[in-house]
């Protein structure tokens, strides 16, 4: 759906984005992960031509976006930024309705779309549609920002560290909400973050950037595997890499099947279904045991985790 073809961007003599080629498949949630200054935001902003590349092309659904006028391009791409950027002098409903109004939708259609979107992001329409941005909390504001981006039902969503300024609890809720919305709407999402946990929670595909270069790209489990690119290992730190790798491995795959010779399993702490090895390890630490049980009777030992990592 989105294809970067050897894109480069220079500021002065420094290459902020250095010959990056990347493909984001349709309907996927691709996370651009990297530290500050890695060029991830700049790369993302090339998709809606907020930044123009100095070399290379960006293709959107097969078309070179350099041939599309920026304004109409942006009408078809949702854009969510860290500081939200809601218009302070417009109500929530008007903020969400920005692009639909630009596209000339009639008032009735706009109003019903606004209400539908507010429900989608988990905010009761009657309560929120008439509020002003200064009457919103940080988390609520970013949900509205997301609703605004989705308003004209664009196929692509660009999100630039949207949850980084929020408290951890709020951030968690929004991450879960995003996963749900992605599952429901099947949009192509390009998500930029520097938070590894967030990346692992959200990503279908992970793209790691450093100093303007693309270091690794693929499913999270592939990117974080034991024999990953040494540069990736150095970026994360080996120990952290291993720890995060646990998060990509399903506990069920490493567990031992239920057996009659373990009568004490009734007292073992139980993992929630679909847990990964990281959650299993944390449960062990919390309970002070070296075994946990899975629903369905299988058990997992600490040694199993070490073997799988």
């Amino acid at each position: 759906m989105i294809r970067f073809d050897r894109v480069t961007k220079r500021y002065g003599h420094r290459a902020v984005v250095d010959s990056v080629s990347l493909e984001v498949r349709k309907g996927g949630l691709c996370v651009l992960l990297g530290e500050s200054g890695s060029g991830k935001s700049t790369l993302m902003r090339m998709v809606n031509r907020m930044v123009e590349p100095d070399a290379g092309r960006v293709m959107l659904d097969g078309t070179d976006i350099a041939n599309v006028p920026p304004e109409s391009l942006r009408h078809g791409i949702g854009y969510v930024i860290q500081s939200v950027g809601l218009f302070p002098h417009w109500r929530v409903a008007d903020n969400i309705a920005t692009v639909p109004r630009l596209l000339g939708w009639d008032a009735a259609r706009v109003a019903s779309r606004v209400d539908a979107l507010l429900q989608l992001v988990g905010l009761p329409p009657e309560d929120f549609r008439a509020r002003y941005p200064h009457e919103l909390s940080g988390g609520q504001a970013q949900r509205i920002g997301l609703a605004r981006a989705l308003a004209a039902d664009p196929p692509v969503l660009l999100m630039d560290e949207p949850f980084s300024a929020l408290d951890p609890g709020i951030r968690r809720g929004l991450q879960v909400a995003l996963r749900r919305i992605h599952a429901e709407t099947a949009k192509t999402i390009l998500f930029v973050t520097h938070d590894v946990e967030e990346a692992l929670l959200l990503a279908d595909e992970l793209a790691v950037m450093q100093d303007g270069r693309l270091l690794a790209h693929g499913r999270p489990a592939e990117v974080l595997r034991r024999d990953a690119d040494p540069v990736v290992k150095r970026l994360f730190g080996e120990a952290t890499l291993a720890f995060h790798r646990l998060g990509t491995l399903r506990a069920a795959n490493a567990a031992r099947p239920a057996s009659a010779t373990q009568p004490a399993e009734a007292q073992l702490p139980i993992l929630p279904p679909d847990s990964n090895l990281k959650q299993a390890l944390m449960l062990m630490l919390e309970s002070g045991t070296d075994q946990v049980a899975l629903p369905g009777g299988a058990t997992l030992h600490l040694s199993d985790i070490l073997a799988a990592a």
Partner: protein, 237 residues
């Protein structure tokens, strides 16, 4: 309008002002009291209301032109990369050092006596607060809001009209307020160049050693300026 109860004291003052203007020719004893040597203490060379009207036309007219120029200039200065900004700073620095009377006097040889040189000077002076306010207001719009606006596909003109200007409006209006008060005060000086206004009695009085004229002119000029300031402060809220 929402403000009737707050506007009442202001309206009362305005009424008192107009009443005083109407009654002035009859208060000879009052004007003459501090100046027993003056033989004709009552100003009667031109009706007070005519002077008031001329004064307001001059000031308000200048502010309208200055507002257009200042707003336009301020918008231009904040476009692009602010290449025009240093020019504005230089203009402000220079303008501080040129008193209004000097500007009016310099315009005289070019435009002759009358309202014209005063009008020119008024427009130039009133431009500056509007420029300042426009630039400050537009600068104050959060960059995130502008980024988001561009990101939704709004064109530059639409962003200016629907986002930047409404958000900058309070600061722009406060600049406009300064411009109006400045304009009313400076118009009075224009009497020196032959402009007809509430300052005319002051100038005539000074020329003819008639303290009573000076008192009347000074009183009403100051009163008008204070009224205007009060009115605009009220409007600002």
């Amino acid at each position: 309008m929402r403000l009737p109860h707050r506007a009442v004291p202001l309206l009362a003052q305005a009424a008192a002002f107009l009443l005083a203007l109407w009654a002035a020719p009859h208060l000879g004893a009052l004007w003459g009291a501090p100046f027993p040597d003056v033989q004709r203490p009552v100003w009667d060379q031109r009706g007070w209301f005519a002077l008031l009207g001329a004064h307001l036309m001059l000031s308000v007219g200048a502010v309208v032109i200055a507002a257009a120029l200042g707003l336009g200039g301020g918008i231009l200065a904040t476009r692009g990369q602010g290449r025009l900004r240093p020019l504005l700073d230089a203009l402000f620095a220079l303008a501080q050092s040129v008193p209004p009377i000097a500007a009016i006097a310099l315009a005289l040889p070019l435009l002759g006596f009358g309202a014209a040189p005063t009008m020119l000077a008024l427009v130039l002076y009133a431009c500056l607060p509007v420029l300042r306010g426009t630039v400050a207001g537009l600068d104050g719009v959060a960059p995130a809001v502008l980024d988001a606006a561009r990101g939704t596909g709004m064109g530059a003109a639409r962003v200016l009209w629907q986002v930047e200007l409404p958000l900058a409006a309070p600061v722009i209006l406060s600049g406009l307020r300064v411009a109006v008060v400045l304009s009313i005060a400076t118009a009075a000086v224009g009497a020196m160049a032959g402009a007809e206004c509430l300052g005319t009695p002051i100038v005539v009085g000074l020329a003819n050693n008639n303290g009573a004229y000076v008192l009347q002119g000074g009183l009403f000029t100051a009163w008008l300026a204070l009224l205007a300031d009060r009115a605009l402060a009220l409007l600002a809220r």
